[in-house]
Point group: C2
Chain length 156, copies 2
């Protein structure tokens, strides 16, 4: 997944932020792993490989900023790390609708796309008067390799 640098620079300027090498590198590191759900430390390592001077604090600060600009999304799998992935919207309208399947045995995370929740969202707006603008869905279970087809619902 390639990053449109000019558009990124424009976005930064529009928000009164400065264009720096670090910011570009962090965004590109995340964009280079479209299927991953990266931790701050992992992003740090990725960037450091090509730019050893970078500091971890800068990565944390940049990540936060990119998230506020809606260029990246935050996910939490409750494993002690906050993770980030490229936002599908690319900051250009278009809402993202993908969910995460989390394997309870091997921990693998599979992303998948579905718009079924539209229905649920409008149902809620009608019923509760709550206006839904975004959602996050995590589905827990067992992946194919871990007996996805037939396994008793045995936990622990």
């Amino acid at each position: 997944m390639a990053v449109d640098r000019e558009q990124f620079k424009k976005l930064l300027k529009e928000n009164g932020l400065r264009v720096t090498k670090q910011r570009l590198l962090v965004l590109e590191a995340i964009a280079s792993c479209p299927e991953e759900h990266l931790t701050a430390e992992e992003i740090f390592d990725l960037v450091k490989a090509g730019y050893p001077e970078i500091g971890l604090a800068t990565v944390y600060r940049t990540i936060q900023m990119l998230n506020e600009l809606h260029l990246i999304d935050r996910i939490n799998f409750d494993d002690g790390f906050v993770r980030y992935e490229m936002g599908n919207a690319h900051g250009l309208g278009q809402k993202h609708h993908h969910h995460h399947l989390i394997c309870m045995k091997c921990g693998r995370v599979i992303s998948f796309r579905d718009d079924l929740l539209e229905e649920l969202e409008s149902k809620i707006t009608d019923t509760v008067g709550f206006h839904v603008v975004d959602h996050e869905v995590k589905l827990y279970g067992y992946c194919v390799d871990c007996g996805g087809d037939f396994i008793e619902e045995k936990r622990e």
Copy 2:
């Protein structure tokens, strides 16, 4: 919401765990706030009100245990605290299906019940071969008090 103490004691014994005053008190504190999403610290304060000797570490350890026994559920609203709520299942089969509406303005959290995801789950099992056994849904938006009815999708 009342706790069936005898059943709880039985469950502990079945799992080779000992029945202690602290464990009963922690469970009852959580059960006494069925609509809340309590942090460890909040549970600690609740119990301490009636039993000042309790230690925070015990609360953390007990919470973890109750969660493993599926008596309480864990939720994370990304505000820096892990939260817990009474599990609807009461450890007796019956899966819980309730979601959380999170207001992006005032932070209020509304729980609500829906089984629409059944459809999604079987769809996934068929498509990906991933066997879903549980799910967690968070919906972000604006509650009635914060302009739930008509508000432009304006963020930040």
